[in-house]
């Protein structure tokens, strides 16, 4: 316990700057789902229109798949992974083991974002938090409206870091990395990655 406290993981592992891929914007806010008023809702959107985007995913192989897992799989099946332009993440509530009502809530969240993005089947969902509780749809829905209507989207470092914070649960630091790479002909491209998790971790995704 004392060893744990002597490690300042935030200082060690959270970057102070980053390089980010072109054509993405992110936004986040505290919707009120988390009890402590911390960031708990985020949206990533693709704003590049020069080509159709591609999407891929792997999901838990747990038999009890949460509503956002089932929903996102459906979106990828229907769209064949083409034209997915948004990801909504929320923390505080996993929307898991919530049955038909949970699926309806997931669909409503995605529909709301699809309207702003302007395309059907263009939004993936991720939720994390307590199992067996329904999403507080009034807070989530109000939060999404606020992000889009007040155009909270940006591509600066602070916005990406806040997005990483918005999916944290028991995490002690947000997990954000980014890097530039080169193709064989020297063309540069960029990867950015965000993850969350601290417990209930032994994934076997497919």
């Amino acid at each position: 316990s004392s060893a744990s406290k002597t490690l300042d993981k935030y200082a060690l592992f959270v970057p102070k700057s980053g390089v980010f891929p072109k054509g993405y914007e992110v936004a986040s806010l505290a919707s009120g789902v988390k009890k402590n008023g911390a960031l708990d809702l985020g949206v990533i959107r693709n704003v590049n229109k020069s080509r159709k985007s591609s999407a891929a995913a792997v999901f838990t192989t747990n038999r009890f798949k949460a509503a956002p897992v089932q929903f996102s799989r459906k979106v990828l099946d229907i769209s064949s992974g083409e034209g997915v332009d948004a990801i909504v993440v929320n923390s505080g509530c996993a929307n898991a083991v919530t049955g038909e009502l949970g699926m309806q809530d997931a669909e409503n969240v995605a529909s709301q974002v699809n309207k702003y993005v302007g395309e059907q089947n263009s939004t993936l969902l991720m939720s994390t938090g307590v199992i067996g509780q329904r999403l507080q749809m009034d807070k989530i829905s109000t939060g999404i409206d606020k992000l889009f209507i007040e155009n909270k989207f940006s591509s600066d470092f602070g916005s990406w870091l806040n997005l990483a914070k918005s999916i944290c649960t028991t995490d002690t630091f947000p997990k954000l990395i980014s890097s530039k790479f080169s193709l064989s002909d020297g063309t540069e491209y960029t990867l950015v990655g965000i993850s969350k998790g601290a417990g209930m971790i032994c994934p076997n995704m497919a």
């Binding site: 072109k22 159709k52 891929a56 838990t60 897992v69 996993a94 064989s184 063309t187 601290a198 032994c202």
Partner: protein, 227 residues
């Protein structure tokens, strides 16, 4: 729960992207463990929006393997951050199983060690308990013993701080080293980054798994998560 996403500005068709992501996750996020529990929500997704002006990458593109390798290494870095933040964790542990006849066997053995509560407790307590590591190898769910020959197995702790000797052998060719240098073991186990090396000596395949120790704090955090 594990959640994550990787975004790129490359143009990659969806089939190639799925292949790339699945390959990367097999050697990154699917090779981590904090507590052995699998969530109802685990998801990793990847988007490629094609904002970079370059030909679309598919499975037959010359750069497909190169980008796949880069995405895999990137995913490993991202996955390792989750382990470093394991609830109550004080140590980041790489379990490296090498020279296995089959990759899947190396993975099963690495996973078995990584999920052992007793191995993880010993690592927290800085106890060079090689018996628990060997025990976890022995009950790993191998289909057969092609990769595991008791007379060829070597188990070591590896120092990660550049100090010497870097390797502390616990088991050599199946024989426990009963005169372990306990003071050197204590030095290595006091590090916040550790490596457990298992050399099966039965082939050329290898798998790395990343785990953490198990501390009192884990129970404190999870005793009242819902309420």
């Amino acid at each position: 729960t594990l959640l994550g996403f990787v975004l790129t500005d490359l143009p990659i068709n969806s089939s190639a992207l799925q292949s790339m992501l699945t390959g990367a996750v097999t050697r990154s996020f699917n090779c981590i463990s904090v507590d052995g529990d699998m969530s109802t929500n685990d998801t990793i997704c990847m988007l490629a929006n094609g904002a970079i002006d370059t030909p679309v990458i598919d499975e037959s593109s010359p750069d497909f393997q190169k980008v796949s390798s880069q995405v895999t290494e990137f995913a490993k870095n991202l996955a390792q951050l989750v382990v470093r933040d394991g609830e109550g964790a004080t140590k980041f542990v790489t379990v490296n199983v090498k020279n296995s006849a089959e990759f899947k066997d190396a993975r099963l053995i690495a996973e078995s060690i990584s999920n052992s509560m007793l191995v993880k407790s010993a690592l927290y307590g800085q106890d060079a308990n090689w018996g628990r590591i060997l025990c976890a190898i022995g009950y790993s769910k191998l289909e057969n013993c092609k990769s595991l020959d008791e007379s060829k197995i070597n188990v070591s702790f590896i120092a990660t701080d550049g100090s010497s000797p870097q390797e502390l052998k616990l088991i050599a060719n199946g024989v426990p080293q009963l005169d372990i240098d306990e003071s050197r073991a204590s030095e290595i186990l006091a590090l916040s980054d550790l490596e457990v090396l298992v050399d099966l000596g039965t082939g050329t395949e290898e798998c790395q798994f990343w785990t953490c120790d198990l501390s009192h704090e884990y129970v404190t955090i999870n005793g009242d998560y819902r309420s």
